[in-house]
Each structure stands twice: as structure tokens, then as C-alpha cells.
Assembly symmetry: C2
Homo-oligomer: 408 residues x 2
């Protein structure tokens, strides 16, 4: 088999951990596989480089930050290759550019455009374990670019797509994707498999195993990947396209997002430009809105409520003060200390009554629902943060997620 394995900054955080990665990778090869490894910068290295940059420039250019930060992964690839060679294995390292990872020219958050893995393929054919620097690529102009957050996951998945790998393994510090956060819901268990869309909804609602963009990329190119732990040998969670079988499970999991806030705007003039002005102000202030509910409050005014990250609350509030000055009748109320609980599953498309089951479960548990929003495969509720544990357990239980079917 041709296998791509990804190890993040914690997994390669020091020379000893790099040696552990080397052992694991070499075992994979010696089991009869060809192996490509994507690695991140050692934990802490990127922060050190950013600090160094700040010592020469208050606002370093993104182009040069990319050149600087790319050295972090380049250091790791060389050390990883050396560690494999020290164990008697054959390894060769390549930078993003050498791996043929072409990107657009948007520094600090470049998008992969194409991959030409000729050198990687040649090194593989020569019997090497090929170590690819994650997080980086090269623009059409020949400049070094970086891919932004979650970049090494993206490198691994894109490389798996380009070389048509049989398997792509994302090694991380958790055992896989769980039905819910086990610290909140003790009966939560690791999923054997999950559909791309479910993974995306889980990611966007708080289960931050991976950045959405990598999952989206995998979905687009049909790359099946496994999320698993670099600290043990347990099987992880396979992320793949929908199968008929998956739909028999109504809800795949329950995700939790804490540190939420709500802004309620009452008596917003019911004219076409008013809502636009509010959302424009939020966009200009770089505030991401999450759940949005608009209701008619009178014949000519509406109430607009939305949730947002508590971290953005202050800047959202100050941006809205300016809007308030222009709309005298409008009132703003601000609520902190909120949370969001979401039930996710592609099965809900073919199962009626999911919303009512969820709402009833929460009511029975005494949880007050502040807002509710639904998508095709997700139902989310905004609640008081103090209700999070009770709510998550109630929803988890309501969809028969209690108890692991695969504890074996």
C-alpha cells in the first residue's frame, strides 16, 4: 500500500518524539508499504520565529514571514529523515516546493492549486520514506508560501490525493473523533467512521480535531483518511464519503461550543437597508456571526438576534453603537456566558422528528433553549453555558449514543 502519515507539532516536539515518529514510520514501511510523511514545525518553533521577526519589524510582511516560518518545517523534515536513517531506514526529505506543492500567491494563507509530485514519486521508487514539509508550498512566481492554520493536515491530504495513496493517516493527540467530548459526556465513544459532511459540521461547531478546509479538500478529491493518536496504536476514526449504511444512524455525534455570546437587536426598522447595515458593520469589524434569527416585532420593525464568539463581543458591541446612532428606535441587548450544543448526522435527512426529539430531551432535562437553528444535517441550540453538560448528555442519550457499540 501507499500510505501518507501526518504528524503535528506536538508529535515532533523534541528529538525524542521525532525518534518515536521515526520508529512508527519505519514500522509502517517494513510492514510492506510505501510511506510519505508530512510533518509540522516542532512545537514552539513557530512562536520563536514570530518573536524573532517582531524584534526586527513591528509589522513583518507576510511574504517574508512565509520565508521565515517555512524554516520550521524544513528543520523537522531533516531531523525526521536523519532519525529514520539512524534506525537503518532509507529516508529523504523534501520541502513543500520540492514536493511540487503549487499554491496561489496569497502569503500566510495560500491555497493549493496543483501538486506535481515527480520528485516525491522518484524518491519513493528508490525505496525512501519521503518526508514532506507540511504547511508550505511555492507560488507560480516561485515564492515560498504557507497554507495557514491546519496547513500540515492539508499537505497530507493533498499529497494523498496527488499520489493516489491507499491510506492517509492524520496522527494527532486524540484517539479519533468522538460522539461528544468525553470530558462532558462520560458515555461518549470514539466513532469508527464519519462522513465528510458530518465531520465538517462537527468541526464548525466546536469539535476541533481538524480545520474544515482540510476536510473540504478531502471531500472534494475523495481522500479517505483516518484520524488517530500518535501516542498509542488504537485504530482511529475513518473519515470518508457517505455510505448507505451511515444513514441508519440518525445522529453521528453531539458537538459543544463554549464561550459564546448573543446580541439581541430589538425594533430594527423593517426596511431593506437596515439589516444590511448591521451585517456590514459586523463584517467591517471582522466579527463572524453564527446563528442568526430574525423575527417581526411589529408592523414596521423586526428583532434580529445572533450568536458570536464571546471573544468578539466587545468589538461587535462598539461597532453596533455606531449603527444605533443612526437608528434611534433600535435597542441592543448583550448576553455573555452562552454556549452552543449541536446534533450532527447525515441520517437526519431521512429520519423525521429529529428536531422534536432534541427539543423534548432538552425540555425534559430542564434546559432552556435560547435560539435554535437547523441545517440539512445539523440542529444547533444556543443555551446558557451553565446548562452545557446537562444538555449535551440529554441530547447524546436521546439519540441512543450512550454506551459504545465498539468498545472492543
Amino acid at each position: 500500500m501507499l500510505i501518507v502519515q501526518k504528524f503535528g507539532g506536538t508529535s515532533v516536539g523534541n528529538p525524542d518524539r521525532i525518534k518515536n515518529v521515526a520508529r512508527r514510520v519505519l514500522e509502517t514501511q517494513r510492514a510492506g508499504n510505501q510511506v510519505i510523511v508530512a510533518v509540522s514545525a516542532m512545537a514552539g518553533v513557530t512562536d520563536g520565529l514570530i518573536k524573532l521577526a517582531r524584534e526586527v519589524s513591528a509589522a513583518p510582511s507576510e511574504r517574508e514571514m512565509d520565508v521565515l516560518l517555512a524554516t520550521g518545517e524544513q528543520t523537522t523534515i531533516a531531523l525526521t529523515a536523519m532519525a529514520i536513517q539512524e534506525l537503518g531506514g532509507k529516508a529523504a526529505s523534501v520541502t513543500g516546493a520540492q514536493a511540487g506543492i503549487a499554491t496561489d500567491g496569497v502569503h500566510a494563507r495560500a491555497r493549493i492549486t496543483t501538486i506535481e509530485p515527480a520528485l516525491v514519486q522518484r524518491l519513493l521508487d528508490e525505496g525512501n520514506i519521503v518526508i514532506v514539509a507540511g504547511f508550505q508550498g511555492i507560488s507560480e512566481d516561485g515564492l515560498i508560501t504557507t497554507l495557514g492554520r491546519g496547513g500540515t493536515d492539508l499537505t497530507a491530504i493533498a499529497m494523498a490525493a496527488a499520489v493516489k495513496a491507499d491510506l492517509c493517516q492524520i496522527y494527532t493527540d486524540v484517539d479519533g473523533v468522538f460522539t461528544c467530548d468525553p470530558r462532558v459526556v462520560p458515555t461518549a465513544y470514539k466513532l469508527d467512521e464519519i462522513a465528510y459532511d458530518e465531520m465538517l459540521e462537527m468541526a464548525s461547531s466546536g469539535s476541533k480535531v481538524m480545520q474544515s478546509r482540510s476536510v473540504e479538500f478531502a471531500k472534494k478529491f475523495g481522500v479517505v483518511f483516518e484520524v488517530r493518536s500518535s501516542f498509542n496504536n488504537n485504530p482511529g476514526t475513518t473519515v470518508k464519503g457517505e455510505t448507505k449504511n451511515m444513514e441508519s444512524v440518525v445522529i453521528r455525534g453531539v458537538s459543544i461550543e463554549r464561550n459564546q455570546a448573543k446580541i439581541a437587536l430589538d425594533h430594527v426598522p423593517d426596511t431593506p437597508g437596515s439589516a444590511a447595515k448591521i451585517f456590514q458593520a459586523m463584517g467591517d469589524a471582522n466579527v463572524n456571526l453564527d446563528m442568526i434569527v430574525q423575527t417581526e416585532s411589529s408592523a414596521d420593525t423586526a428583532d434580529i438576534d445572533f450568536t458570536l464568539s464571546a471573544a468578539d463581543l466587545a468589538k461587535a458591541e462598539s461597532a453596533l453603537r455606531a449603527v444605533l446612532d443612526e437608528m434611534p428606535g433600535m435597542q441592543m441587548k448583550v448576553y455573555g456566558g452562552m454556549a452552543k450544543v449541536s446534533a450532527v448526522g447525515i441520517g437526519m435527512r431521512s429520519h423525521a422528528g429529529v428536531a422534536s426529539t432534541m427539543v423534548r430531551a432538552l425540555a425534559d432535562a430542564g434546559v432552556n433553549i435560547d435560539m435554535i437553528s437547523t441545517s440539512e444535517i445539523k440542529i444547533a441550540v444556543a443555551i446558557d453555558d451553565s446548562d452545557v453538560e446537562v444538555a449535551a448528555r440529554a441530547v447524546h442519550d436521546a439519540f441512543c449514543l450512550e454506551g459504545s457499540p465498539d468498545l472492543s
Copy 2:
């Protein structure tokens, strides 16, 4: 003018020094020039990377060491570009590969084969100061290579040749090339100019301002360069091809090499294979011989004396013990505590009596000459290390080098 400037590891040793380099480079550009800058890794960084490598592997492969060490210069180019941008300048950094520095595939000591400076030229044309990572290139196979000791000097000179620069300045921690080491000969002074061949002889006999290979490269491609200090604005020494005028000076300078040793082999059988066996043994032990004198000691034996670095004495001695076993009549004597003083100048080719002047000056100063060797433009003597200062001053004086003709 198009100017290439080189700054070594000490000159870019910390963020403050990088800012100083940025100021100097920007001044050069603002005076109406196009500027390319070649920089080394910050002092200490390369050693830190080597230490890291040793933590994962007892004997890291040279291929991967090159990938690792190349991050040192890549860090400096980004920081230098940022520092220039912070001062309001326009700058862009490029790695060796991006600068089009093609090398052979000999890792750790690659030779430059060609330079394709298309990207450098484009960035220059866009008004950038272009910061090139010294010491590194890319092999025909697309692998990262490093150029070995003095690599950044070589990068600067090769780049100057490739872009047909009007001027190449090697910034270092000395003011230029001196007639002799001023710590030994207080009347020594900085030379305004020196011929490539003189510089080469000075370099190979102890005046380690630059590695010979960079000077050889400059000579081959006719790159005129200036060695000058990065800590002041004094003019340095221009290194260039011979001019008619240069020959009027008999001796350009006196170089000193301490920590030398001598091995005297007496009664070596005067057969064709004997000397070969001795030199073969030295080559196998990786010992560089310097001055070699062979004389007939009897009808059928010869005496062979040679000097070598004191650091190599022990391994040379042990290698020769094995040869002694095969040649029973031969005797070996070992002398430590020696030094070498050389007079260098292309003028000696057209001036008779240089050797006799030097020998008489040493005799008058009471210095015993142990060995003497001559090349077309150099006369070297091996002496006792305790005589170095007296000898250097005597030779310096004998050729009227005392007192600077250009102290202005």
C-alpha cells in the same frame, strides 16, 4: 551601479546587527544603486542546528544536514528583508535555489555549476533590494546543497559574476587585507589593492580573510571585489587581476602560519616506491602536507622532511609508524612548536634577489631557517615558533613594508 554586498554570521548575529545591515544596505540603494545582499546564518545558529542533529543521529547524512543547515541562512534572509522593509525600503528574499544557484550533487561541499538569476533580476527590476541566502544551492536533482566553508563569500562572488555586478563588497570583521598581522608587526598596514594570486598565496599561508576557493572563483570570472569592515565606513582592500603597476611593489605582504610541525624522515630507501608509500600513507590518513624537501643522504637513501599542521601531527606519526616497519633503515624525527613565515608578491617575478634579501634579513635578525620553499610569487620559511615575531618584522622591514603609504 549594481552592487553585491556580503555579510557574514557575526555581522547578522542578532536582531540589532541585522538592523544595522539593513541601514547600510538601504543607504547603498538610496545612493542610486541596485543592491543584492548575500547573508550567512546568524552566528551560533549553525552550531545549534548541528547539535540538534546529533540528538537524533550519531552520524547524520550529509544530504539531510544540508536541508537542516540551509534553514539558517533562510532565517537570516527573511529577517534582513523585514528589517529593510521596516525602514521603509523595498526588499525581497530568495533562497539559494530561488536565486538559481545550481551546484553539483556533492552534499556539504557542493561546487557551483551555473547561476540562472532570472528571479533575482526580476526582483531587482521591481526596485527590490534582493537578499540571497548564502552558502546554499540546488543540485541538478532538485536537492538542497550547501557549499561548505566560506560558502557565503562564494555566493556573493558567483552572484556578482552572474549578474555582471559593477562592484562586490565582502563585509567582514577586519578592515581589509593587511601587509601582515598587525598584532605581530605593529607597522603593518591595510593594502589598497592586491592581485588574486597574491590573495591566494596569502590565504593559503595563514592570512585567513577568505577561503581560497572564493578568490579562485573571482579570479576565474574576473570579479573585482572589496574586502571591508561591517563595523565602520573605512575603504577596504580591492582584490583584482594583476596590473602593470602592481609589479613595482616587490612584496605585497608577509603572512604567518603558527601551530606548525615538522616530520623528518632520514635514510628513506632511494627506490621509486618508497616516497610514494610515505605520501600515500599521509593521504590515507587525511593529513595535508605543506612544505616538502627531499635531499640525498647517501648513495642509496634520501632524507624527506615536510611540515604539516600541528593538529595533524599525532595521526601522521601513527600512520608513518606502519611505514617504518616496512623500511627498517628509515628513521623518523618529529618536531612540534614550529611556524611558517611567507613573503608574497607578484613583483618578485620581475625582481631578482628576493630570496637572498629575505634570507639575509632573517640571518641578521638571528632567526634560524629550518626549511625554505619557493613558488613563483611566494617564499616561505619554516622556523621555530618562538622566532615568529622577530622574523615577520625583519621580513616586513626588509621589503620596505614598514610605515603605511596610504594612511590618509
